[in-house]
Amino acid sequence: MADLLTSLTAAANSMAAYQQEMQVVQNDTSNATTPGYVAQNLTLDALPFNPNGTSAGGVTTGVLESSRDLYAEQNVQTQTAAENYSSTTHDTLSALNPTFSLSSNTSVSASFNTFFSAVSQLSVTPNDSQLRQSVITAAQGISQSFQAASQGLSSASQNLAQNAATVVGSINQIVSQIQQLNVQRRQTGTQNLDPGLDAQMYSDLENLSQYCNFTTIQSADGTMNIYLDGQQGLLVGTSQLKLQSDTTPTQLQVTDSNGADVSGEITGGSLGAYLQAYNTTLPGYTTQLNNLAQGFATSINGQLAAGVDSNNHAGAALFTYNAASPAATLAVSATITPAEIAAAGVGNPGGNDNAVALDQLQSATVLNGYTFTQSYGNLASNVGSDISTSQNEQTTQQSLLAQAQNLRSNASAVSLDEEATKLVQYQQAYDATSKLINVIDDLMQSVLGIIQTS
């Protein structure tokens, strides 16, 4: 009778263990699509069993194990940062396509063509005042084209600074959320790590990886520490270091709350892309554009100075600019008149020598071995090459990110089929154990019947 009671207790305990297993299956199934959630596994431990003694055997639940693969998580975070870097770079640079349009009639290269056509026309009838005015009008077109291109680059920079500020705000918000999770994890401890808190933590980390590159180290108390590449701590335990962005005349900076510049440590994610574009890529384009504007204006003014105008005076400068920002400030001299266009050569007033020489500048390699159009073409080509490269990198990174996500899914995602299999397995075990209880109950009734009849 005592053995039957022991078996009954063991069976009841086993059913309780199966109920817990089915709870885990339920939780896994419910969170199959929850961001950051990974499959949980509740181990079953066999209890001591000795049919000759007092150990009735049976089963009990062990620890709740997470299937999270930390390497796979880190790989996804790394690839997410890289993918967002390339996609943000591509989006940023693609916005410059209209600025360097090949089909626009108002692009710098098209304006060059219009200007030199006007000069060429003037070279045939150098004393025609209307054609002289046409040269001035075409020159105004060039200055407007340079200003528009410069404005396009400037606007792109302003957008980058605004976007960077938004992203920095998002980073601070996500790190703040993780800080709150750290507080809860510290309270629960590592032994009782809650799968829900864990899912929120890794979901936040994956979101954070969209914006910047970082590394994580989990402390013994379960809190997650987050460091930028240079080991600047964004979050250490429950202590958060907030970031802020700022722009100087030439640089976009990300500083920590102590004012230290941490821009150099952010090389990935959308913030890394914004920093690279603002501080390096766009200034490079601007420098090329400025060099071209200055070189063009200097060459044209120099050639005009070598000739004489309609009144046999030395040629006046056609273009003016501020050397600090030639492209943005390139303009036609406010005082020049059509008669002051020096179409003639010195000693040949009324002639076209200088107009011809001016027109021939179009095909002259006066800027480091390139023509004006070639120089502009090199700039446009650089922009196009950067856009194309970023597009290729984006495609590659998308593929790498997908691989990383698949790897993580294979390692730790909830499989509905697997959960269903477990459910069937535990249901069968539960049913079998309950039937065993019925049998024991029958046996006990039989025993009790013997007592009544005796």
């Binding site: 004393n127 179009q362 070639q374 073409g377």
Partner: protein, 302 residues
């Protein structure tokens, strides 16, 4: 173990996005006829395309310039033909004066006719094309000679224009001259070679009635006429050069357009084929994704 839906979906969407981008690019190429529309399409070709655009624009402008120059050269050449005819008339008058036995009043009458020739020659020196004096050199807004003044050796007074003439750009990058000054054509050298001086000399000889002077003037007229014909031949050369340059410009334009087409134009057949392939790929991707198993073991439990 199966992958989670989120990972599979994100990969599917990224691939679908890439297919859609390729379709848009193909469609854009087909509709525009251009493979190179943005600087990012073929970055290595951008500079070459822009340079070709510049060369074509420059070449077309030179073509327009040559058309304008041709008008001026033709006007000048016509004027010199008329001048040559005037010199023939002068030769006839000189011959008539040389053979005039009556002298006196007849020579005076012939002198008046020579004066009329000088007046006509003045008009020819003032030939204009498109508002420009074609024989004034660089000073094309100034008439080369102002009025008849028979007290002057050349009968018109000093040349008012410029000694220099314009050069015109050839499509091959060189320059060439297309005009001569009135001084070079009508008044170069001395009395024996200058058109104007020989006519004035004939006028004076006829007025003097000197048979010797008239004979000498007749000889000068003949020599000056030959010089004038030389100038006329030179203008024929100018016409030929302008015509050759125009032909060259047209051929160069075809070459440049062909080079630009190679770099810039879309291969329509390839673009259409690519678009068809990508459209098929898009359909396949959508259909295959829709056909993915959407059931799990849970659907068969219970």
């Amino acid at each position: 173990m199966i992958v989670t839906l989120s990972a599979a979906n994100s990969e599917f969407l990224a691939n679908l996005s890439n297919i859609n981008a390729r379709i848009v690019q193909d469609q854009s190429e087909v509709s525009s006829g251009l493979a190179l529309q943005n600087v990012s399409d073929e970055p290595d070709e951008v500079s070459a395309v822009l340079q070709l655009d510049a060369r074509i624009a420059n070449n077309n402008q030179i073509g327009d310039n040559l058309g304008q120059v041709a008008t001026e050269v033709n006007a000048a050449e016509g004027a010199l033909e008329d001048a040559s005819n005037l010199m023939n008339d002068a030769t006839q008058l000189a011959t008539e004066g040389s053979s005039n036995l009556t002298g006196g009043a007849s020579d005076q009458q012939l002198a008046l006719e020579v004066k009329n020739l000088i007046t006509q020659m003045l008009g020819l020196t003032q030939t204009q094309a498109q508002g420009r004096y074609v024989f004034s050199g660089d000073s094309d807004q100034t008439a080369p000679y102002v009025a008849v003044d028979l007290t002057q050796a050349n009968g018109l007074g000093p040349y008012q224009g410029s000694a220099d003439t314009r050069t015109i750009q050839h499509p091959n990058g060189s320059t060439f001259s297309v005009s001569m000054t009135a001084a070079e054509i009508f008044d170069s050298g001395g009395a024996s070679t200058s058109v104007l001086q020989s006519l004035t000399g004939l006028y004076n000889a006829l007025n003097s009635g000197s048979a010797t002077a008239i004979a000498a003037a007749n000889s000068n007229i003949s020599t000056a006429s030959a010089n004038l014909n030389g100038s006329l031949a030179q203008y024929g050369n100018f016409q030929s050069e302008v015509s050759n340059a125009t032909t060259y410009q047209g051929q160069l334009n075809v070459q440049l357009q062909a080079q630009l087409s190679v770099l810039q134009d879309a291969d329509e057949a390839t673009a259409i084929t690519d678009m068809q392939e990508n459209t098929t790929a898009q359909t396949a991707a959508l259909e295959s994704h829709a056909a993915l198993p959407n059931k799990s073991l849970f659907d068969y439990i219970g």
